[in-house]
Amino acid sequence: MDGVENIHELRCAPGKERTNVHLTDAHCFQQLAESYDSLCFESKLQDNLLSYLCGLENAKVGGYHVVTLCLDADWKEIMGQILLRIVELDIDKKLEELFNDLTFLIEQKSELRIEKKFFEIFRYIDDRHKIIIALPDFYDYVTSIPASDIFRMTDFMKQCKYVKFWLCGKSSWYLSTIERCKIFYRFFDPISFDYFTSVKAGKGKPVVYISYKWVGISLDIVDQLCALFRKKQISYKRDKEYCRYNDSITDFMKEIRDAKLVVIVFCREYFDSFACCYEMSGIFSHDDYKKRIVSIVVDEELRDDESWHDDIREYWTNKRSANRTKMEGLQLEFEEQKVPYREKEDIMCGIQQTLPKVFDYIADDNAMDLNYLADNDYMPVLQKVKDKLSEYYGNMV
C-alpha cells in the first residue's frame, strides 16, 4: 500500500460530528460502511487515500465493493470526464460488463455529459450490488466543473439506492462557504434543508428531540431510533448524548419543551417521571403541538384504558398534595426555602392540566403498532420525522 504509511487518520463528518478514522484499522472502515449511507472525509494527504482505497484487502469494506472515482489531471480540461478505477472486480458478469463499458468510455474519451455517464455506470447496479464510491479528490473536482453538472450529479445520485458515497477532500471542505461544496454537503445530509430556505425563514438547522423514560423497552427503542438517525445523518438530541457532565438538564428539558419536533416514546413509566412530564407539558402547551410530535406508544393500554388514565391522574394528585404538605410545613421565616416547592407546584399543576389533552392525543393519534415498527427497523418513524420536518421547514433538498 504505497503511501499509506504516511497517513494515520482521516476525519469523517457525518452531520457535523467529527470522527477520526484510523486507516490501518479495517474494522473501523467496516463499521462506517455499516453505519452510514454516505460519508464526507477530510484528509491532508488525499492522494494517499486513493492508493489506500485501491489496496483495501479484498476490495471490500463491510461487504461493499470499493470504487474510486478520480479526475485525471490531463482530463480536467474535458468537462465531466471521469476516470474510473474498479479496485477489484467480483467474478460477476454484470460487473465485468460494467468494467468493459467503463474502459470503453475512458478510452473513447467520450464527450457524454456527466449524467449520461453516471447512467451508464449505474444501470448495471441492482440491489445485489453493494458499492461504495469514493471520490478522493472531491474538492478539486467540484471546483473544476460547472455548477449545473453538480446539480445533475446530485439529482442522479438521489436515484441510486444501493450505492454509498464516500467523499474525501482537503481539510474541512464540507465546512467550506463555497456554494458548490454546500450543494454536495446538503445532499449528503438528508435533513439539512436548503440553507437559504431555512435561514431566510428565520429557522435554524432542523433537529429532532427525543423525550423518553430511561427504562426497559423505551430505552431500547430510542437506542435503535438514534442509530437510524445517525445512519441517515439526521440531527437529533437526546439527553444521554447531548447532556454531558455538568450540563444543565433543566436547560435541556426547556429546549425539548420548545422544540419544533419531538419524538415522544410513551410508556407507563413515562407518566411517573417528573422530568418526562415536565417536557411533555411544555410540548403540549403549543397550539400546534400535533405538528410537533411523532409518538411511539409502548403500552397500548395508554390509548384507551380508563383505569390506567385514572391511575396516572391519581399519581399526580398525590404527588402534588405531598409537595404542598411539605411546602406548608415550612415556617414563615424560611420563605425562601418555599420557592422550589412553589415552582414544583406550578409545574405539577401544568402537568395535571395537560394530562387529558395527552390522553386524547394518544387515543386519537394513528401511531403504528410497536411490533410493526420494530419489524421495519423504525423506518416508518423516520418517514414521519421527515414529513413533519418538511411540513415545518419546507421542501427538503
Binding site: 480536467k76 468537462m79 478539486d140 471546483t143 473544476s144 466543473i145 460547472p146 455548477a147 449545473s148 446539480f151 439529482d155 462557504t177 463555497i178 456554494e179 458548490r180 436548503d194 437559504f196 435561514v199 431566510k200 433538498v397
Partner: protein
C-alpha cells in the same frame, strides 16, 4: 422623478431581501437602485445594447460570480431580453430548486448571454463569496484590484483608462462602463461578532463625486443596498444604514437625487 419597477412598500424592513427575494427596484436615467443585487442583470439588459461592447466594474464585498444555473435557463432571457421585470424576477431554475437569478449568479448569467459586455472586468471586492475556478477560469478574465485603494483605482479605470493599466487592451479604452456597486462593500463583517463600517462618510462622498464626474463614461450604474449584508441590529436598522450611505451618494449623483427615501414615499 424616477420610476419604480417595484415600489418600496411602507413596511419594507419587514420584507424579505435575501438570496432570491427582492423588495424594490427604482430607476432614473441610467442609474438603478435595488435592494437585491440579482436585479442588476435586468437593468443592464434594459440599458445596454446587444451588439455593443462595454467594460465592467464590480464594487462589492462579494464576487457574485457563482454559476448556479443550467445552460437551458438562459433561453427565456435570450429569447426575450427586454422581458418585463416581474417576469424576470420570477424566472425559476430548470430543476425548480430556486429562482433562476440569485444574488450570487447574475454576473456570470449575463456574461453567458452577452460576453461582449464584459471586455475589461475590474473587480474591487473584499474577496468574499464564490468565484468560479477551474472550469470557468478562462471564460471571463478578471482584473482584481486592491479594494483599499478603491478610489484610486476607480479614478484610474473610469477617468484615466489607458492600455498602460493592468489588464486593459487598447481596443477596450473607448468602451463605456457598466458600473455595479453593492453598498455592502463599505462595510465589514467577521463571523457574527464583528460588524464595522469600513469606509468613512467622507470617502463614500468622494466615490460618489467621482461617479458623477465619470457619468458620461458610464452606460449604466446599478446600486444594490443589500440590507441583509449591512450592519445594524435587525433589518430596520440595516436598511437605515443602507439609506444613510445612499443619501450621501444622492447628494453627489444627480440622477440619484430623485430617489424617494422611505420618509418621502406616500
Amino acid at each position: 422623478m424616477g420610476i419604480w419597477f417595484k415600489k418600496m412598500p411602507a413596511d419594507y424592513y419587514n420584507q424579505l431581501s435575501f438570496f432570491e427575494e427582492d423588495v424594490m427596484l427604482w430607476q432614473n436615467d441610467m442609474v438603478y437602485v435595488m435592494d437585491n443585487h440579482r436585479d442588476a442583470a435586468w437593468c443592464w439588459l434594459q440599458q445596454c445594447e446587444d451588439g455593443e461592447s462595454y467594460n465592467f466594474m464590480h464594487i462589492d464585498r462579494h464576487y457574485d460570480m457563482g454559476d448556479y444555473y443550467y445552460d437551458e435557463d438562459l433561453e427565456p432571457v435570450r429569447n426575450n431580453p427586454r422581458m418585463d421585470y416581474l417576469e424576470y424576477a420570477n424566472l425559476i431554475r430548470k430543476d425548480g430548486g430556486c429562482k433562476t437569478l440569485r444574488w450570487d449568479n447574475y454576473i456570470r448569467f449575463t456574461h453567458d448571454l452577452r460576453p461582449n459586455w464584459f471586455k475589461t472586468n475590474v473587480f474591487l471586492t473584499q474577496k468574499d463569496g464564490d468565484i468560479c475556478v477551474g472550469w470557468h477560469e478562462n471564460t471571463m478574465r478578471l482584473i482584481e484590484l486592491d479594494a483599499l485603494a478603491l478610489y484610486g483605482y476607480m479614478h484610474q479605470y473610469l477617468l484615466e483608462l489607458s492600455d498602460h493599466l493592468e489588464g486593459v487592451s487598447p481596443e477596450d479604452i473607448n468602451w463605456k462602463w457598466i458600473v455595479n456597486i453593492d453598498l455592502d462593500m463599505f462595510f465589514y463583517h467577521y463571523d457574527d461578532n464583528i460588524h464595522l463600517k469600513l469606509y468613512s462618510d467622507g470617502y463614500i462622498r468622494e466615490v460618489a463625486k467621482l461617479l458623477q464626474k465619470a457619468m458620461d463614461k458610464i452606460q449604466v450604474l446599478t446600486i444594490a443596498i443589500s440590507p441583509d449584508c449591512l450592519i445594524g441590529d435587525g433589518m430596520k436598522e440595516k436598511w437605515y444604514n443602507g439609506f444613510r450611505v445612499l443619501r450621501i451618494m444622492a447628494e453627489e449623483i444627480v440622477a440619484l437625487q430623485g430617489f424617494l427615501f422611505p420618509e418621502n414615499i406616500d
